[in-house]
Symmetry: C2
């Protein structure tokens, strides 16, 4: 099945997909999972299940694709599969759609195979699905940059002079990117409040999340090669939710002049399912108007933003979730094509599995801000939790949960969630 | 032979080591090389030769070490060998010293093996010797930070408030770190001079080098684990020369507020031989006095700087080299133990093969500054080349060569060189 046909809302699967599921047959995101004592391998989410591609491969379900390398489904990261190329991964996803559609008996009627090939997600363990060579974080939400500039600099000149001319970005730490569900230990570090004469050392007192999306690089370049905005999507495999945990007090003291370092590199969390660019096709929307006009290498044509609803929930220890943010990926001032064109315009090479995150995604209204820093406005407007407690930043024992989905009528392409519970400093 | 004994200046090898060689038997650095059609593998430099550890392994020379995994010498990076642990790599280097010392006939008299096991360096190809998971760059030279602060901010307050309280660092790009000798393509990018109203796009006009040393992480940590200054050296495998190429005009426009990005990530160059920490033992010197006192987690005992002479040469196309800088690694205000303790104090995990660079190493005198920016003082004091031409920054066709060595009497522990020729923007 070709990727456009998979997006047809009337397509249905013989695997039960509950209403409101993030993973209908139109989605089919890739992840790395294990079940029981089996080694981790490639799976595709469908409804509440994971389809085991390694088992399907062994049973001959992918024979017709003549893949260059069938062992990719047995790998513990998606990189080797992605390295087969976009034609191949499209063919794999197309074949999976084919296998799963209601009227195809191939696997549907092989009930003997279901126990091996189709697992309940709740019985599976998910893993960081990528070997991430390099991780880049952008700063592409104009609302977020304006909020930060307003709080810490001058409300009248909230945006720095370069902000509307280039998608500001910086390098982050790849080693400390963890899969959703991994506990986050509150970082220790140096901080210095304005009224303090000397810095002090201790657990961060202003631990924050950043609501982000990240895209996965799907194709290598060589040094010296540039990727144009027009070609950029050939180099993007898919998207996931990303929480760029931040210690605001450490950040304030350390970040001038070379940028955030220990305030960020203690942990970032990634959601387990990589939703392909193809699955998001129906949700393309225009990028906000860019004024002043950008330089030619950043100009682009077509709909390059995506209408993806984003939500953040905070769950205090032993209590229920409170929704604290509703934002949308469509607010991004700089789109991913521009980010990639900018990143490579100097000849910087990119590699399959590199992760490029959006930066905090804030919307125009106070309930759409993508960080506690903004939601509680530097601690001046504490957030009320369902259990009656208040939050200025994240407390020990709090779990931060981000969810994301694109919706059109009854068709919902979801990302699942990225969550992390904060443990006390050790 | 134990590592202290290798440092004995009277130790000699049966392999000829010319006077002034960087690679006497007291050094024995590790690298990755290939000869002819052989696959790349682990080698050790001795005089003008490379000793092929893969061949020695096959011939049984390492049998007595009972290594957990003998295939490490056949790998295309040093990471698996380093992962055997410091005891093992010390034993390997000790055994190599044993095999090479004058009075040991084992290999000396196996002349049949010499052609296979001992290659002239000039006939070998060298490779990036590491899989670099993450690359961090510090900013630890007080002279460099002071020079930059003087040029771009206020000479009276050249150092930013945090500078003497923590070793400022930031994350760089791992994918574009290349082995010495790789040509460097002049980057394109956005720049905006103060007098320009809008940014312009084109080849960088202020291409620069940064004279740095980098250390290689030799042991993994888990997230949440801290490495103390006391333990730090257990996590350091060795050192190399590092050129952190920088486009000053791109940097000026992009780096506020999140730090350098495209100004740096187009390329960094690493020298091919990793000199072990053990080989540098005789060259320990005191760290400069740190005043004000640093926080307890940054305090340390003992001699933690290294007296390593560093030189930079510039060779215009078709002309001879001009020495443009003589600096020394001993000037570092923050030592590597402090850098590593700081990097992990928030629980950030490190991995074998991670590279941590010093930042530009400038000394106290104008001829010891470690970048063109400082040597030519923002272009106001052009440097004279041997061929009569002048340089404010790096021209197309210029080759920048950095050399480093520690010397005590006739004993010289050298790093070889890291070089790169600048090609025109493409």
């Amino acid at each position: 099945m070709n990727y456009q046909d998979i997006s047809n809302p009337s397509l249905q699967s013989w695997v039960d997909v509950p209403q409101g599921s993030d993973f209908p047959i139109q989605n089919l995101p890739f992840g790395i999972f294990s079940k029981g004592n089996n080694a981790s391998r490639v799976g595709v989410a469908i409804g509440e299940h994971v389809l085991d591609l390694a088992v399907l491969m062994e049973e001959g379900f992918f024979d017709e694709l003549s893949l260059k390398d069938g062992s990719v489904f047995h790998e513990s990261v998606l990189n080797p599969m992605i390295a087969l190329g976009k034609d191949a991964t499209r063919a794999i996803r197309g074949r999976v759609a084919d296998i799963l559609k209601s009227d195809n008996p191939e696997l549907r009627d092989r009930t003997d195979l279901h126990k091996e090939a189709l697992h309940l997600q709740k019985n599976c363990k998910m893993y960081l699905p990528l070997h991430i060579g390099d991780y880049t974080d952008f700063y592409s939400s104009i609302e977020h940059a304006t909020n930060v500039g307003t709080m810490f600099r001058d409300p009248k000149n909230a945006l720095l002079p370069n902000w509307k001319h280039l998608p500001v970005g910086y390098h982050g730490r790849a080693s400390s990117i963890v899969i959703s569900g991994t506990p986050i230990i509150r970082p220790l570090g140096q901080t210095k409040d304005a009224e303090q004469e000397l810095p002090v050392f201790g657990p961060s007192k202003r631990l924050d999340f950043e609501l982000e999306m990240a895209f996965v690089v799907g194709k290598n370049t060589s040094m010296g090669q540039r990727v144009s905005t027009q070609e950029a999507e050939n180099y993007i495999f898919g998207f996931a939710l990303f929480n760029d945990w931040s210690a605001r007090d450490i950040q304030t003291w350390e970040y001038v002049p070379l940028g955030p370092f220990l305030a960020k590199n203690f942990a970032s969390s990634l959601s387990p399912w990589i939703v392909t660019l193809d699955a998001l096709e129906p949700f393309r929307v225009a990028t906000p108007v860019q004024e002043p006009a950008v330089l030619p290498y950043l100009q682009f044509e077509g709909l390059k933003n995506f209408d993806i609803q984003l939500e953040v929930y905070l769950q205090p220890e032993g209590s229920s979730e409170t929704k604290i943010c509703s934002s949308n990926f469509k607010y991004m001032y700089w789109n991913v094509n521009q980010q990639l064109a900018h990143h490579t315009v100097n000849g910087c090479n990119i590699k399959i599995g590199d992760l490029m995150a959006s930066g905090t995604i804030s919307g125009p209204t106070p309930d759409s801000y993508g960080s506690m820093l903004e939601l509680a406005w530097k601690g001046t407007k504490p957030l009320k939790m369902a259990d009656g407690s208040e939050r200025r930043f994240i407390n020990d024992g709090d779990t931060v949960i981000m969810r994301g989905f694109a919706q059109k009528g009854t068709m919902r392409i979801g990302f699942g969630e990225v969550s992390g519970k904060v443990l006390p400093a050790n």
